[in-house]
Subunit: 126 residues, 2 copies
């Protein structure tokens, strides 16, 4: 497949797809999409699932993904408030590819760790 034939080329520095790709692959974006692939979550459920994310970063990440049309936000005007986040159809398409990547990396961590040891051994450690 010829990438250059597409209307958007991520390799060009001013292409808007770079921004979206960064939202998707960013540290918190990737984990958030990965979590939401398993179903619907509330804000604090997500916060617990994505271990280590701060309130602010999760909020920020969700806004970016919602704006890009990957995440759907459903707020119920109850008290206490309840907000559920789910993937949109587009988000599901993206997250499926993303999850394939994440699982590939996870599954090959043994090899990666082995490569690191060999690398660090040749060059005088660190």
């Amino acid at each position: 497949m010829d990438l250059d034939a597409l209307p958007f080329d991520v390799f060009a520095k001013d292409c808007p797809s770079r921004g979206t790709l960064e939202h998707v692959t960013g540290r918190w974006g990737a984990l958030t999409l990965g979590a939401l692939h398993e179903g619907s979550f509330r804000f604090n459920e997500l916060r617990r699932r994505v271990d280590g994310v701060s309130e602010k970063m999760l909020s920020q990440t969700l806004h970016a993904l919602e704006r890009d049309g990957l995440v759907h936000r459903e707020a119920q005007p109850t008290n206490p408030p309840r907000v559920d986040y789910t993937l949109t159809p587009l988000g599901r398409e993206v997250s499926e590819r993303l999850l394939a990547l994440i699982q590939c990396v996870q599954g090959r961590m043994e090899d990666v760790l082995g490569a690191r040891e060999r690398y660090d051994e040749v060059r005088g450690a660190r």
Copy 2:
């Protein structure tokens, strides 16, 4: 597939797979792996292909990917020096999934841009 059954869980904040995932999906890591998927490149060829990357960041990115066993570095002691970068078999596995993701995002940019417009319209722009 049950992620919790794997020895490495990227959702846990101290899992080493998070680091590798960030090397792979980071701004420059993703584009570098994407470029190398098309074949072998020399340093400055890569620099031109990955539009906007600085010398320092490319160098740093390549080192991280090499250490993780995803990229192979072949230096020839000629003058002028010639160094070729290629994907390792492991790197090719990862980059294939990564490229599927990149192409998915690229191909759906129209939808993303549309979603943004709708989002910005409802909320008083910016």
